[in-house]
Symmetry: D2
Amino acid sequence: MAGNSFGKLFSITTYGESHGPALGGVIDGCPPGIELDMDAIQNEMNRRKPGQSAIVTQRKEPDSVKFHSGIFEGKTTGTPIGFVIENTNQKSHDYSHIKDSYRPSHADYTYDKKYGTRDYRGGGRSSARETACRVVAGAIAKQVLKGIEIYAYVSGVGTMKLDKPYSELDLTKIESNIVRCPDQEMATKMEQYIKEVRSKGDTVGGIISCVVKNVPAGLGEPVFDKLHADLGKAMLSINAVKGFEYGSGFHGSTMYGSDHNDAFNTDGSTKTNNSGGIQGGISNGMDIYFNVAFKPVATLIQKYETIDKKGEIVEMQGKGRHDPCVVPRAVPIVEAMAALVLADFYLINKIYS
Amino acid sequence: MAGNSFGKLFSITTYGESHGPALGGVIDGCPPGIELDMDAIQNEMNRRKPGQSAIVTQRKEPDSVKFHSGIFEGKTTGTPIGFVIENTNQKSHDYSHIKDSYRPSHADYTYDKKYGTRDYRGGGRSSARETACRVVAGAIAKQVLKGIEIYAYVSGVGTMKLDKPYSELDLTKIESNIVRCPDQEMATKMEQYIKEVRSKGDTVGGIISCVVKNVPAGLGEPVFDKLHADLGKAMLSINAVKGFEYGSGFHGSTMYGSDHNDAFNTDGSTKTNNSGGIQGGISNGMDIYFNVAFKPVATLIQKYETIDKKGEIVEMQGKGRHDPCVVPRAVPIVEAMAALVLADFYLINKIYS
Amino acid sequence: MAGNSFGKLFSITTYGESHGPALGGVIDGCPPGIELDMDAIQNEMNRRKPGQSAIVTQRKEPDSVKFHSGIFEGKTTGTPIGFVIENTNQKSHDYSHIKDSYRPSHADYTYDKKYGTRDYRGGGRSSARETACRVVAGAIAKQVLKGIEIYAYVSGVGTMKLDKPYSELDLTKIESNIVRCPDQEMATKMEQYIKEVRSKGDTVGGIISCVVKNVPAGLGEPVFDKLHADLGKAMLSINAVKGFEYGSGFHGSTMYGSDHNDAFNTDGSTKTNNSGGIQGGISNGMDIYFNVAFKPVATLIQKYETIDKKGEIVEMQGKGRHDPCVVPRAVPIVEAMAALVLADFYLINKIYS
Amino acid sequence: MAGNSFGKLFSITTYGESHGPALGGVIDGCPPGIELDMDAIQNEMNRRKPGQSAIVTQRKEPDSVKFHSGIFEGKTTGTPIGFVIENTNQKSHDYSHIKDSYRPSHADYTYDKKYGTRDYRGGGRSSARETACRVVAGAIAKQVLKGIEIYAYVSGVGTMKLDKPYSELDLTKIESNIVRCPDQEMATKMEQYIKEVRSKGDTVGGIISCVVKNVPAGLGEPVFDKLHADLGKAMLSINAVKGFEYGSGFHGSTMYGSDHNDAFNTDGSTKTNNSGGIQGGISNGMDIYFNVAFKPVATLIQKYETIDKKGEIVEMQGKGRHDPCVVPRAVPIVEAMAALVLADFYLINKIYS
C-alpha cells in the first residue's frame, strides 16, 4: 500500500536510504528448489554499481549482497528471501547545505511536502541507490525465468539515437563497451559525448531499449494488469524515467491500421511485430520490445540559486560524484524490473495450467 | 490478482463481455457523504458511447448505468457501489466467421492461448466496451476529487499533430467539436482526415494529451507506486494504448540537465515544468500533464487473409460498425483512469494527515 | 482495501444492501473451462434463503442469481464472473422507527459512527442478506475444488450440544432435517427448542461444525496466511460469529503434548488428528475440521428501550420476520466461505507445481 | 501473496529461519514524525526472548534489533523501516537426526509436501523464532496507537483457568510474575504446574486473554475485513494457536438474545459488553477483549517413534531447550499482532476523516 512492494505472486518489498546503514529487501513467492547462481547475482550488481567505468559516478561502493534467509544448501526453499546491502561509503559528510534547501527537479521539495520530514543525506529514500535492491530481486527473477532472455541496451544519449531496429543488432555485444550500446561505432560516439557533457558540469538524458525473447504466449492478466501496463509501471517506477512505449509505440499512433496490423503466419507467429509481442495485454510468443526514456540527472556540478524551506533564495553549488548520464548504469535496472514483471505473470499464469 | 481490479483504497473491480447480458462493476472505498451528481455521470457515459457523432462507430447503445448499492438518499454511504450497464444492442449475429479464426492484431489468438477458450462475440472481454465501466467509476472519482480539474483532449490523429503546448489552448473548448481537439482549426482538419480514412475502410492511430490542474502536493507513494508510474499503468491498461510519457517525456531524454531542471519560485512553484507536476513520484502542486499514444483500430472494413485455430489460412471480411479512429471516444476514458489514480492516492495520502 | 473483497487468486468482491434494488458481486480468478452446474448453485442459494422452513424467518425471497459475464456456452471463460441477486421483497416499509435509533447489539451505532450515515432499511450493508453473494461464489468455488468434500452442520443450539465427533455421524444426513444436524434425534430436540425460543419472541445462539475431506497436502501460505488463519478470518467475517477453533481447538489448550501429538502412520497419515488436518499452517492431507460459534440474533420480538442519535431514550418494538436461531441457514454460508478459502489456496499452490 | 506480509496500510513483511544468519523484516506505511522509543521496542523483545525465566526455554539469544532505514534523527520518516535480528545462537549442531525425519505435530511433513524441501535446522521458517519480527513491528505499531492500551495475559495453563473477568484483575500486574498472569495466586500455581510438566519432559497448552482499552469507535472494514475477523486471523497466524473467540465467544453461542444484547447508556456506551467492543465488525468504543487458545508445544524431551521421508519408522529422542508451555512468552506476541491489526485499521479509517 505504502508503495514499497512490487509484484503479487513473485513480490519484492524494499527499504533503505542512500546514506543509512544499509538497504535491503524481501523477495516473497520465489519458487523452491532453484539452485541460485550467486555469481550471476553479483554480476548484475556490478553492472549497476557506481565507479564501474569512466563515464559513471566515481563514488565507490562494493554493493555486495548478503542473503539472510530463504536459501538452504544453495537452493531456494520457497520461504522469503531476505537480503541486505550495506552502505559502506557513508562519509560523515556535511549535509548542512542541502538540509533545509530544495534542489531543483529533485524530490527534496515533494518529500518534505508529503512527509513533513526527510532524510536529506544523499537524497535519502529518493536516491537511485534504492534500485540496487531491485537488481538483486531481478537477478533472482531471471533465474526463475529459465529460457527467457532479456536484453536491455542504450539506444539514445541526448540527441544521439541508434536508429537500427534490434533485429539488426548483435545483442551479445551490449557488455562490450561501457555505454552498453551494442553498436560499437555509436557507443564510441556516445561515450565521447557523455565525457564532454560531464566536462561542462552538465548532464544529459537518454533512452534504453529492451528486448525479451522466448516469452511463452499467455502472460498478462487483463483488463487492468495487462502485460505491457505492468511493464510500463515497472519502468516508470525507476528513478528519472519520463516515458514508456512498446511495440510500435508513439510512432504507431501515426500509422494506418492497414499498415499496423500484424498478419499471421500459419504457425501463429506474425509476419510483422508492431504489437511488440503483446496483444490484448497478453504475450503472443513473439519478441517483446519497448523503449524507456530517462531525463537528465538533476544534479549539476554548477552554481545555481534555489529556495530553502522558508522560501528564501539560497545559492548552492552542485558537487560530488554524480552520473553525467544515467542510462549506462540503468541498463541492468531495466532488465531487473522486466524480469520481476515477467516472473510474476509467469507464476500467476500457472492458475491456468 | 486476476487483473480485473484497479486501485487500493479507492478501487474498482469490473466484469463484462461485449455481447453478454451486461457489464458492471463494484467501486469499493468511495468515501461516504458525497452527494452524487447523476447527470454528470451519465454525461461522461455519453462522451464515450458509440453512435455519438459522425466520426465514431454508428452502433447504437444507450449506455445507461443502474446503481444497485452504496448510494442512499442521493449520497454515498461508504459501502461498495455496485453498478450495471446492460448490453441492449446484442443482435443475434452470426459469429461463425470469427468463432474459429484469429483476426490480426486483435486479442483472439492470445485469449485462446491463455484461457483455452474465449467468448468470441464482438471481442468478448477484450472489447473496448469494457471501458464503459471505467468511465462510470471515473465519473464518481471526479466527484471525490473536488477542485481538481482533469482535461484530456485529442492532440494527434495519424501524422497530424497539435504542436501547441496546453498552456496556449482553451481547454474549455474540448467538447466544442466531435474530435475533442480544443484547437478548432486543427479539429476541422482532423475530422476531415478521419472521414477520409474511414471511406477507405482503413483506420488510423492518434494521441490524447491530458492536463490535471489543482492537484495538491504530496500525492504518490514511492518507490514503486510513484504517481506517474500508476498513471502510466492506468493509461497503458486502456485498449489500444502503446505509449505513455509525462512532463518532458521522450523529448526530455534528449535534453541537458541545465535546460531540463525546473528552477523554483519563492512560493515553491517552479518557473518551468519539465517535471510535469511530479518529482520523485510525488505531485508538487504544479500542473500534471502527459501524453497517451493509441494504435490504429485493428478492425478494417476490408478483405484479408488470416489463420484459424488449426493454422489454416482463411479469408475474412471486416464488417460492421467500427471506429475509424479511437481517440475521440477515448478522451473520457483517459480522464476516468486519471481520476481513479488520483482519487486512490488522495485517500492514501490521508495517512499522513 | 475497503473490506469488500476476499481472496487473492480466487477472489470475490461483493456489494449490496438489504433493501436496495439488488445485491451482487464479481468473482475474479475462476479458472476457465469449468462446466458450471447451475442447479448446484441455485441449490446452495435455496439452502440459505429465507422462508425455507418452519424454524427460519418467514420472509419470502426467491434469491435467484443472474450471471452477467464470465460464462460462455455453459463454461467459465477465465474472465470475471459478474452476478446479481435482485431484492424482490422490498416493501415500502415505514422505517422511521429505526431511522434515528440504535438497536442494541446491531451495527446501527457503529455504522453511524464510522460512516456518518447509513442505509437504515433492514440493516443496510450490515444485514446478513449480504451473505447470499458469498453463497453464490462459494458454490462456484466448490466446483473448482473437484473431489474435495465440505460438510457443515449444526452441532449446537443454545446449550444443546451434539457431543459426538464427526466420525460417528452420517454426514449425508445433514439435509434430512430442517435444523441441518446429522443426528436426527438431536435435530428433533433442537427444532423443538428453536420453536419454543421463537414463541417467546426470543432468539438463541448456536454452533456450526465443518469437516473438509480429501484436501491435498500443501495448501496454506505461512507465516501469516496459514490455512487455518484464513479459514478463521473467513468464518469470523460471517455475521454473528463470535469464535473459531480448529482441530483440538480450545480443548487442546488443556492437553499435554504427549496426548496431543499426532503420531504418524507409515503412509504419512496420522493415528490421531488433533492437528485438524493442518500443521504449521499447511494442510497435511487429513480431514480438516473446525467449529464456528454464532451469537443469538439481536432482533427480538419484544418491547425494549434504547437510544437515538441524540442520546435520548426511545422505546422500540422488535417486529417482522426474523430468525430465532441463525445456524440452520448459516450452514451453507460456512461451507461457502470454506470453499472460497480452499479454492484460493488451491490456485496459489500451483506456484509450486 | 506468498503469505509473509500482513496488513494493508500499516504492513509488515518478514523473513528468516530459526538457524539462518538472521531474521528481519520491513514495516511499510508507518506514519512519519513519530519519535520512536527504542527502549520500549527492546523491552517487548525481552518479553518474548528465550532464556528470560525459569519456565521458558533456556536457550540464550539477545534478540537485539538493528534498524536499517526509515528512522532519521530519532523519528520515523514515512519511508519503510527495515530491521534485522541476528541469530547469534547458531551452533553448528548436528541435525542429521531430524533431516530426513518428520517429527509428529510439527511442520516438517507439511513443509516437505508443499515445498519439496525445507531448512530442517530448528524448524526453519516454521519455528516460532519468526515471531520476533512480529514483536518488533508490533512495538512500533503500539507507538502509532498513542492512547490505546493493549493488555495480554495468561488466563489458562492446561486445565488451570483464571475464571475472573478482566474487570476484576489488576492489569498492571501482568509483568509482576514470570507466568504473566495478573492474579498472583493463580500465577504461583501455574508456575508450579509448568515446572512439573517440564520435569516429566512433557508440555502443556494454555490460553492468553487480551483486553484493548481506549479504542475509538469506527475501526474495521466490513464485510470481510471486520475488526474481529482480522484480529482472529492475526492470532491464528501465531504458532501453536488453535482457537480464537471475542466478546461472549463460544459461551455466547449458548445464550438467549434477551440476555446477550448489550443495552445502551445514553452516552452510547453499553451496560454490558457481550459484543466485546465490536458490532457489525466495527469498534464501538467499548473495551475489546478476546481469548486465544494455544496447543501444547510438540517437542517433548522423550523418546518416540516416527517416520522418515521414505515412510520408514525411526526412533527419535526429543532434546534441547524447549518451552514446556508457550503462553508466557506468547503474551507479547499476542499484543504485537493486536497492535498491528489496530494500527492498520486506524490508518485506513482516516479515509473517513
